[in-house]
């Protein structure tokens, strides 16, 4: 369970998160929508401790992320995150990209790590690409590799930050299919996305962010069908 309690976060004088309260249960798929600069990405990077927070707290399975005593390297092993820019490691093959963290962070042997990596790469449809260098692949393939790389750590939670936004329209589908597959398998996920159709389909709940505030959160039927908040209505009208 991810528990976010009254989290505030500023970059200098700019307050980006203005008191966020949110709980994500095991097995839930939450999508986060909202305008540019509303704090969606920042929330994700706070959840895995890449960014510090100014007040409030975030607990993941009861462990407080920003507590001094928390071993963030350890905690991050159960929170996978995939960014808009997939950040393939260019000097490693696809297989090596996925094997790196299981070997170095989990201490797996080469054989164990390879088994895990092959399994995850097969899962995202890249079984044919094991020995290829990532720069030789399409954006969609690289993004699926990044997903497999995160999954190889056997995370309990997966955070996705607009993972299709940097892709050619033709390649968006294959990545969304991978996310659908994970959702159907019961993975706990928070997906920041601009793909409204996808959000409506896979989400248990949808959260709408506006200027650092979670203005509305509801099941997709309600949020898309009968949005309560004026800003949600405006945002949805603008994206349709």
């Amino acid at each position: 369970m991810i528990e976010i309690e009254n989290v505030r976060k500023s970059f200098g004088a700019l307050e980006v998160l203005k008191g966020i309260d949110l709980t994500v249960a095991k097995g839930e798929v939450l999508t986060v929508i909202g305008g540019s600069g509303s704090g969606k990405s920042t929330l994700l990077t706070c959840i895995n401790g890449l960014e510090p927070i100014n007040s409030g707290r975030i607990k993941v399975d009861g462990t407080e992320v920003h507590a001094k005593s928390t071993d963030l390297n350890k905690l991050r092993q159960k929170i996978g995150i995939v960014f808009q820019q997939w950040n393939a490691f260019p000097h490693l093959t696809v297989l090596e990209n996925v094997m790196l963290a299981p070997r170095k962070a989990l201490g797996m042997t080469k054989a164990q790590a390879e088994e895990v990596a092959v399994k995850q790469l097969t899962h995202v449809g890249l079984a044919e690409k094991l020995s290829v260098y990532p720069t030789r692949m399409s954006g969609g393939q690289q993004q699926r590799m990044a997903i497999a790389r995160a999954l190889a750590m056997s995370p309990t939670y997966m955070l996705f930050d607009e993972v299709t936004s940097a892709l050619d329209p033709m390649l968006v589908g294959e990545v969304l299919d991978t996310l659908r597959l994970l959702a159907s398998e019961g993975m706990t996920m928070i997906c920041v996305t601009h793909e409204m159709k996808f959000a409506r389909e896979v989400s248990d709940r949808v959260a709408f962010f506006h200027q650092g505030v979670m203005a509305e959160i509801a099941p997709p039927d309600r949020l898309f069908g009968a949005p309560q908040h004026l800003e949600t209505q405006k945002f949805l009208a603008a994206t349709h």
Binding site: N73, K74, N87, F89, H91, L100, A101, K104, A105, L106
Partner: protein, 221 residues
């Protein structure tokens, strides 16, 4: 005025001794590069550490290495340290002087190379649960060494040529030292130094060419 008679045979008889000197020269250059690269990586880590003192030490090292004559650096390693009661052999002084110079230049090359690697690479590694040091070691370092490979090759060539500066610490077993000794005894100055120059040239060319082959094998991405 032009009454110098070339005596190539006499000079060529000294070739075996000069080739031995060339081996010493290559040995010093290789060792100085091994030390230089390792220290340059440490200096780079110091600069990245965010610790003011470490980063000041690294910056000072780089500034001195790059902005003072290599000859002074070698001289200091011998006579400067000698003043503090640390007496090093000409071989070790020359090695340390060149390694000091290499480390400074390479650290600066590494800094340039780091600028070409996006910040998000480290971020991606950290998100996977790697520590800062693991992310550097397995994600940043290999890419940095690749980008800095050509400057590293140049520095290796420079290290070979810098061994001739061993003259100031009375180094006499390297290629320059051997040549200079032979010259003092035979006065076949032109022939001896021409042969030495050819040997230097062959060594540096061989380094440049083999570096190209190594790069092709190592960097397949």
């Amino acid at each position: 005025m032009f009454n110098y008679n070339f005596r190539w045979n006499q000079a060529l008889n000294s070739l075996p001794r000069m080739l031995e000197g060339a081996l010493v020269t290559m040995e010093i250059a290789l060792l100085s590069m091994a030390i230089g690269v390792s220290v340059a990586i440490l200096l780079t880590l110091c600069r990245l550490s965010g610790n003011r003192i470490l980063s000041a030490i690294a910056t000072t090292w780089v500034e001195i290495a790059r902005n003072t004559p290599a000859l002074f650096q070698i001289y200091m390693a011998h006579f400067g340290l000698g003043g503090f009661g640390i007496h090093l052999s000409p071989y070790v002084s020359l090695l340390i002087g060149i390694a000091f110079n290499n480390a400074g230049y390479l650290a600066e090359n590494f800094r340039g190379a780091l600028k070409a690697i996006p910040e998000t690479q480290t971020r991606a590694g950290r998100s996977l649960g790697l520590s800062q040091l693991q992310a550097f070691r397995h994600i940043i370092l290999p890419q940095m060494l690749r980008i800095a490979f050509l400057p590293m090759t140049n520095q290796m060539v420079w290290a070979i040529l810098m061994t001739s500066l061993g003259a100031v610490v009375a180094m006499n077993t390297d290629l320059y030292g051997v040549t200079s000794d032979l010259n003092a005894r035979t006065f076949r100055t032109f022939e001896l130094f021409a042969i030495a120059a050819v040997i230097f040239y062959v060594i540096t060319k061989a380094i440049t060419l083999s570096a190209r082959l190594i790069a092709a094998r190592l960097f397949r991405y």
